[in-house]
Amino acid sequence: MKRLLIILLMGGLVSCASVGKVETGENTLGERMTVNLDGAWNQIKAPGLGPAQIWTMEGLPIDQLLIYTGLKDGEAITSKNSASGGKMKNLDFRASMTPDEIVSLFEGMLTRDGSSFKLLKLEPANFGGLKKGFHFEFSLIRKVDNTQLLGMGYGAVSQGELFAMLYQAPRLSFFPRYRGKVEQIALSARIKQI
């Protein structure tokens, strides 16, 4: 019965999903974050998709850019409804987390379905105008179709809230094609202090 409810819920989500256009130029994301785009992106909108904005250039599931615009302490990085297979992991963000712990959270989210994650790089980086940010890169073998992906992310914690970007795409063509665009968005990101 529980599975039936999940199926009905997922069916409902699919029927409610829409795609919007994120215009070139400055965009305000959430209450405290702005980014400056040098080209338009597509944004997937649907109830229950989770706390991150979902952007894509080629369409899901080819490439995906998740943008967190101020996740608060104790909030999960993904929707409880979006667990695929097996039980939900503990994926709650804590404001005291270090960058490696935050990356582990993302890893946990990306491997819920049995996909295989490998961290390639984790280093300090400016993000959103904050010096205490971080940048990481990873490879992922997606379980559902055995596709080999590459991914990158940026993040920073400001006033107890998580701001982050996480991009992933197939490694041979799509990731190299859009990597520069994602880096440009990350460089343009600004986080307001309140």
Binding site: M1, G86, K87, K89, N90, L91, S96, T98, P99, D100, E101, S104, E107, G108, T111, G114, S116, F117, L119, L120, K121, L122, E123, P124, F134, I141, K143, N146, Q148
Partner: protein, 388 residues
């Protein structure tokens, strides 16, 4: 019926046996013999269609990046299968699949998959033989085709009732419940056959029940959950007392046998850290701690298990977790040959506690031991920050 459902019926999963800890209902089963090798069924038959579909699935499995292509490990598993399966040996292909979940499955065309989450959890070769024997039990009994035919008839039954609204829903549930009962009977039969096979191959059949008992301990460790929520079929498994009595009778009927613990531990040693790393990443902290408590009890001088438990506790960070994690990290290091990440774990805890000297020392030690680690630049930045 969609492809995924069809495939799931084609492979009879060991995981289904979790609730079916139910062992054979009688002490012996003198009439059962391994059947002759199966001929490939006619492609126009339903069984032939199932085989063809499984052949395509096997091609996907063979090419999967999750398939572990280690000839030594593969040959070892296949050797056990052949000892259990006798004349059927040439018809069976084994695939060790990288997946941290406890599972094994057998397809009617002879494709057997064993997942690494299962291999991490077993203690010896006899326990692996118990699982493989159980899967062979499904294969010899051709349960996949039984389930396919049963599902087809139930599907028609359920669809018929589905047109009658709520009353129809009750009918559909009854059909599903009937399918579970059907599956449980299959599990009992596969249990029996598995025990017969492992006993004949010289393994100690008492190890079979330990596999499932150990798994139950893990499942019960989950907070606010019980095994019935992990798997719907748990709700109807035989009571624990009944299982113990049945097991006692079976062990009496098949006494003795080897476990080959040392052989198994030697074979899995090259993979131990990788499989433990997968387990940590499952983020099922309570289950992982229950598992690691058992593994540490079994192998107290193995630093990898202590390190893994420390990592799980550090990630969970409840109450006394960090103090216990420090103890485990230190114990692992004192045993020698601990993973370098033990120093990183210690350093991270000390850093969180503002014990900067200890933090810098341990993080520095980690970088010395793992100069090319992917998080090296981040760790260096932590050390630099603590100098300020």
């Amino acid at each position: 019926m969609n492809r995924r459902r069809f495939l799931s019926m084609g492979c009879v999963c060991c995981l289904n046996l979790i609730p079916g800890i139910s062992l054979a209902q009688s002490d012996s089963w003198p009439d059962w013999q391994i059947p002759p090798r199966f001929a490939r069924p006619d492609l126009s038959s339903d069984e032939g269609g199932l085989w063809a579909l499984m052949d395509r699935e096997e091609k996907r499995v063979r090419q999967s990046p999750f398939c572990i292509r280690d000839p030594q490990l593969h040959d070892y598993v296949l050797d056990i299968i052949c000892r259990l399966g006798g004349d059927h040996c040439p018809d069976i292909r084994a695939y060790v699949m990288h997946n941290p979940i406890f599972n094994a499955m057998m397809a009617p065309n002879g494709m057997m998959q064993v997942w690494t989450g299962l291999m991490l959890r077993i203690d010896n070769e006899a326990q692996l033989a118990a699982v493989l024997g159980h899967e062979l039990g499904h294969y010899f009994s051709r349960h996949s085709i039984d389930q396919l035919r049963d599902a087809e008839s139930r599907s028609a039954f359920a669809q018929f009732f589905g047109i009658f609204g709520l009353v129809g829903a009750v009918g559909q549930i009854a059909a599903i419940a009937g399918a579970f009962a059907h599956s449980r009977e299959h599990e009992r039969v596969a249990d029996r056959i598995g025990l017969e096979l492992m006993s004949k191959a010289g393994y100690d059949p008492a190890e079979a029940a330990k596999v499932w008992e150990n798994l139950l301990v893990e499942l019960k460790a989950s907070p606010n959950e019980d095994p019935t929520r992990e798997n719907p079929m748990f709700a109807t498994h035989p009571p624990a007392d009944e299982r113990r009595e049945t097991l006692a009778r079976l062990v009496e009927a098949h006494p003795g046998g080897v476990t080959n613990e040392a052989t198994w531990l030697d074979k899995m040693a090259p993979y131990r850290r990788e499989w433990l790393d997968d387990e940590i990443k499952r983020s099922q902290h309570e289950q992982s701690i229950a598992l690691l408590n058992r593994l540490i009890s079994r192998s107290p001088s193995q630093p990898d298990y202590l390190f893994a438990r420390a990592e799980v506790r550090r990630l969970r960070s409840n109450d006394t977790d960090l103090d216990q994690a420090i103890n485990d990290y230190k114990s692992a290091i004192s045993l020698g040959n601990a993973p370098p990440e033990s120093y990183r774990g210690l350093g991270m805890i000390y850093m969180a506690r503002k014990q900067t000297e200890e933090a810098r020392t341990n993080l520095g030690h980690y970088l010395d031991l793992s100069p090319a680690s992917p998080d090296g630049l981040m760790i260096k930045s932590y050390i630099e920050e603590m100098k300020i």
